[in-house]
Every structure is written in C-alpha cells, then in structure tokens.
Symmetry: C2
Subunit: 340 residues, 2 copies
Amino acid sequence: MTEDRRLAVLRAIVEDYVATHEPVGSRSLVERHSLGVSPATIRNDMAALEDEGLIAQPHTSAGRVPTDQGYRVFVDRLSQVKPLSGAERRAIGSFLDGAVDLDDVMQRSVRLLSQLTRQVALIQYPSLTRSTVRHTELVGLTPTRALLVVITDTGRVEQRVVETSVAMDDELVARIRSKVSEAVNGQRLVDVADRVADLTGTFERDERPAVAAVVATLLETVVERHEERVMLAGTANLAAFGEDFNGAVRPVLEALEEQMVLLRLLGETRSGDALTVRIGHENEVEGLTSTSVVTVGYARGDEVVAQLGVLGPTRMDYPGTMASVRAVARYVGRILTEQQ
Amino acid sequence: MTEDRRLAVLRAIVEDYVATHEPVGSRSLVERHSLGVSPATIRNDMAALEDEGLIAQPHTSAGRVPTDQGYRVFVDRLSQVKPLSGAERRAIGSFLDGAVDLDDVMQRSVRLLSQLTRQVALIQYPSLTRSTVRHTELVGLTPTRALLVVITDTGRVEQRVVETSVAMDDELVARIRSKVSEAVNGQRLVDVADRVADLTGTFERDERPAVAAVVATLLETVVERHEERVMLAGTANLAAFGEDFNGAVRPVLEALEEQMVLLRLLGETRSGDALTVRIGHENEVEGLTSTSVVTVGYARGDEVVAQLGVLGPTRMDYPGTMASVRAVARYVGRILTEQQ
DNA sequence: ATTGGCACTCGTCGGCGCGGAGTGCCAAGG
DNA sequence: CCTTGGCACTCCGCGCCGACGAGTGCCAAT
C-alpha cells in the first residue's frame, strides 16, 4: 500500500536526519533502509510528502529535511517507544537513590536527565496546591520585620519577610505565631485562605495591621508562589546545538534565564501526566521556535504535582528522549512517594 | 622617554583590540591615538613589546594582539578607573532598591551586573561565619525523619532533613528542639559547635542517637554548607563570546554548571574586599583558561561577607568591568547593611 | 632615537571549473 | 495504476589561482 510506504519513508528520513544532521536523499535512503523499492519510487513519495508539507529541501537538488509538521507526524504516528538500555536504567537508579532532601532530588534528577538526553533538562518543583501545612514559624527580625516560614509535608520550605508599618514586640509575634499555627497547621494549602480569613478580627484593633501583614504574606507564599521554581541543567549541551546555526543559541540562553518562560514551557499543557511534545513553532515562546520541548508530569502518590522535561533542537531523537523523560519522571515520582 | 611610550603603545593596543576584536597594526594605531610618532617607530616598540611577551601576532604580517601578560600589565599599571555614567548609576539604584528579601537582592544584583557588563555575572551568598543564629526549628516529618531549619540574622534560612536510625516521638522532637534552641539561639555560627558539644549527654541513653543525628546535621548546616551557594546570570552573553571561537563556549558552560568551580572562582583569592582580576591562564580552572574573572568582596556593615564578580573573554573592557563590579558590590553592601 | 622607503609575507576575497549528489520528468514495463 | 531505469539539469562544495591590501622587518638617512 502506497500510503504506508510514504510514512515509512518519512520515518526513515527523520531517523537518518536525526542521526546525520544532513539532508537525506533518495539514494542513501534505500541503501540504509530496506524499503524494497528503487530510489525513483522514493523520489515520487518524497515529492508527495513535500506537497503535504512534511519535508522540505533546503536548496533545489539537495536532500530533504523534515519540517516541524513532519516531526509532528513522526511523533504522533510513527515513533515506537524505545526501551532504555540496561546501563541507562542502572544510571537512573544509582543517580537518584542517594538524594537526601527535596532540593537534592530536584538537582540530581535534572542533571541526570540532561546527561541521559544530552540536552537541556528542566524540572519544576512540586506544586503546593495539594499538600498540607506541616508547620509554620514566625521569627521577629526587627520591630517592623519578621520572617515567616512555612514547611509543607513535601519537605518544601517557603520563607518570606513580612514588613509591617507598626512595630511588633516579641509577645505579639509569639501570639500571632501561635494563632496562625493553630489555624493552618495540618490544613491543605488550598484551604489556608479560608482558615485565616477572619483571623485578623480576633486581635486588638491596634495589632491588626501587623496581623494583616502576616496573613497577606502567608497567602502570597502558599497561593501565588506555589509553583514558581524551575531548575535547569545541561545548558552546555546547547553548544552542540550551535554547530549548525550559531546565532540561534543566544536567544535560547536568554529565554532559559527567564523563570516565567520556563514556567510557561513546563506549564502550558497542564494535561496531567501525559507526555507532551511541542515541536518548533508549536512553541509560542519567542526565541524557542526552532527547539522542541518534551515534558511529562510526575506524581507524588497518585497526584500529579509538577512537570519535568527537556528542551533541544527540533532534530532530536524523539523516541529516546521521550523514553528518558518518562523514565526519570517515574523514578522521581517513586522517590517522592516513598519519602512521603 | 621611550619606556613610557612603549607602555602607551601597549595601552593603545589593548584598548583598540578590546574595541574592535581585531589585531591592531602600527598604522591604525597612530591614526586612532595621537602618539606623536610615526608608524615605523611604533613598529620598533611593538617588536620590543613582543620580545617581552606582552603582545603577539596571530600570523606573520598580521597586527598584534595582547597576550595574557599584556592584559596583566594593562590592568596593573595602565588602566585608570573609568567612572560610571549617570545612567548606569541610576540603573543600579533603581534596580536594587525594590528588593524584598535576600534571594531577591542576590538575584537582582547578579542580573544587574550581567546587564551592565554584558558578561556572565556571579554572586556568592553571604557567608554565615560571622552571623548569629536567630532561630532554630525542628519539625517531625516521619518517625525517623525530621526537618531542621536554621534562621540567621542575615535573613538566610537553611534547611536539612535529619534521618535517625531510631524513632522519635513528638515529645522527644519537642524536647530536642527546645534544648537545641536554648543552646544555640543568639550564638554566632562559629560558636555553635562548642555550644552543642555536650548536648547529647544530657539526654537519656536511648534518646542519644536521635539527638546526635540532629546535632550532626546542625553542624553540617552551619559549618560545612556555610558559603555553598552561588547564583549566576547572563550566560546568554557567552554567545557573543562565541563569535570568534565557537567550540570554546561549551567548556565554559560546563564549568559554570559546577557549583564547586564557581566557588573556586569566587573564593580563590580570599583577600578581603580587594578587587582581583584573574586573566586567562592565571585561572586554574580547566575550560576557563581563555576567560578572565573580575571579583571583589562585598560587605555587610564593615565585615566582608562574600564575593561577587563577572566572567568574560580575556579581551574585555577591564576598566569598565572593574568599575561596574565595584559599584554593584558597594550597593549590595549598602543594602545588606541597611536591612540588618 | 626617529623616520621614510622598500621588499616581503600572508590572509582574505572573488572568480572559475569540476565533481558529485540529488532532483524531476518521461517513457517503458509489470 | 504503480514502479523503474534513464537522462538532463541544478546547484552545493571544494580546490585552485591571482589580485589586493594590511602589516611587518630591515636599512639607510637624518
């Protein structure tokens, strides 16, 4: 059937191009893959694929290169999951098992992922939305400044400085601390807002500004900041990227320095733990339109708490990358769940 | 005097080369600088400078380029401080004034510095050695795991998970917490070790393993980890770096991902707040031998607490970079001191 | 010590020709 | 109707050559 072969040709083109980074022609295609037909036939198929917008040629009389759409079809319909090698599996286990705290888990994971894929790896800290408050602490720094610390059951520690217009003495700080603790400890973060809603009213009128400031900061901490942090690793791998088009690496590095961009990259498709691939221009971030991003959610228990993934050139090894990303996500999930 | 002019020539070569990134010849030198002599004379001087190892020519019959040693002499003897422009001063003020907490100060500073210098900026978190413990907290997570949080008067929060072989119940956790707090709160970090030395002995024999674990973690936190963190920004500026020699950017990116390397870069010359410049091969870190690093200490009060600086190609604008680094360090110091 | 002159080196750039890889088309064959 | 071999065409990449120009080193004159 001709349609089947056309897709086989597309797959072959993608695979060869990813392997060699050079436009692939009909002749070398039949040599490297046993397609059972002649170069001329392949040429016809290629012309058709080009009409469909799945491949393109950089110059007349050069080989073909997959387009973003071509990769899309490849990823959606043609790539079969590539199992990890034993060495890779072992690497994952030994790399992640020694982690001592949340920061350590995040850091080891992201490094591991960048090494496995030889690309830039990203990991988002677990979302706080579903977790509960383990402990709150309020420490006076100066009369008008205090430090609010919130510890969650995921082992994450959030801290914010509270500024008040009026002075607080130690006794007031202690009273606010105990009231706040009482109200929110053990509560889920999403419920914190409700629990502290009328806390201010239970204090004397002249103490209320201070209490209000603490409450406001607490809400910021648990509501607004809740998935702000992204860690990344493997930016050195962009150098290989740049072999081909050198100037393209700067905008990528610039984009990667923006927390907001990273969050968008990881957060855009909040489709649970499904593995998503955004290819080239599908990526709306300016400067990253010639890169692909592979992300997947990872879970604590059976709750998806955040995303991790990698970013690389559109001509990446999608099956391999997808396998690595998925595997690391699974391991991270397991570790978070065990540490629970 | 001929010696004077030779140095003037060196200065001119460095300035022109930094500005143009191209080898500079005798003719263009006399045109751009009013040296009052003819190209032929300059050529003689250049030959002498080359004998001294201060300049070199990439190819026969090309212009001259400063060597690492040439830059060294330039920095040590020839560069005069370049005052910041009004715009730059204003930028520094407005950029840093809105900072709300320590992380924010660090982040804003390092970004500012990278933007001012168009290079990679580094900043080390303030050392804990001289600060005091404001507050300690111990929170049970599971029977054998607890979270230890130490808050210092600089507003820095350190956290570590404590693992014990034996289970701790809530009551024991509370007792350890209060004993530890009592022992170390208000103490300087350097004294913490002494204060907790015989703490374990005051507990029942079967409780001691748990206490020992907490104490050990506490010591790690305040002693070993005390200046571990380095933040960096402006890696995108390496792209401009790479225009010339493309492959050189990868090892730099790799080096920058290693915390240890960053610490060595900032920490190697612990000469108080003096501004230090390490040029090319003076830099012992492999992969960074064709970069220069400009660092300076910054203070809280009158105590130097850490270093900050930038990393860039050896052909950087040293006077401008040094001025920016020094200015930012001064501002950061001022902010830390005020927040005290 | 400085300077003008001069021969020499060498890297850069454009032009030229060639080989090779690849394409598109067409006519013949299953 | 699909496949295939043949063929003409395109165009990139490469090596070669020559001209140009920037820059140097040396030397003799001042």
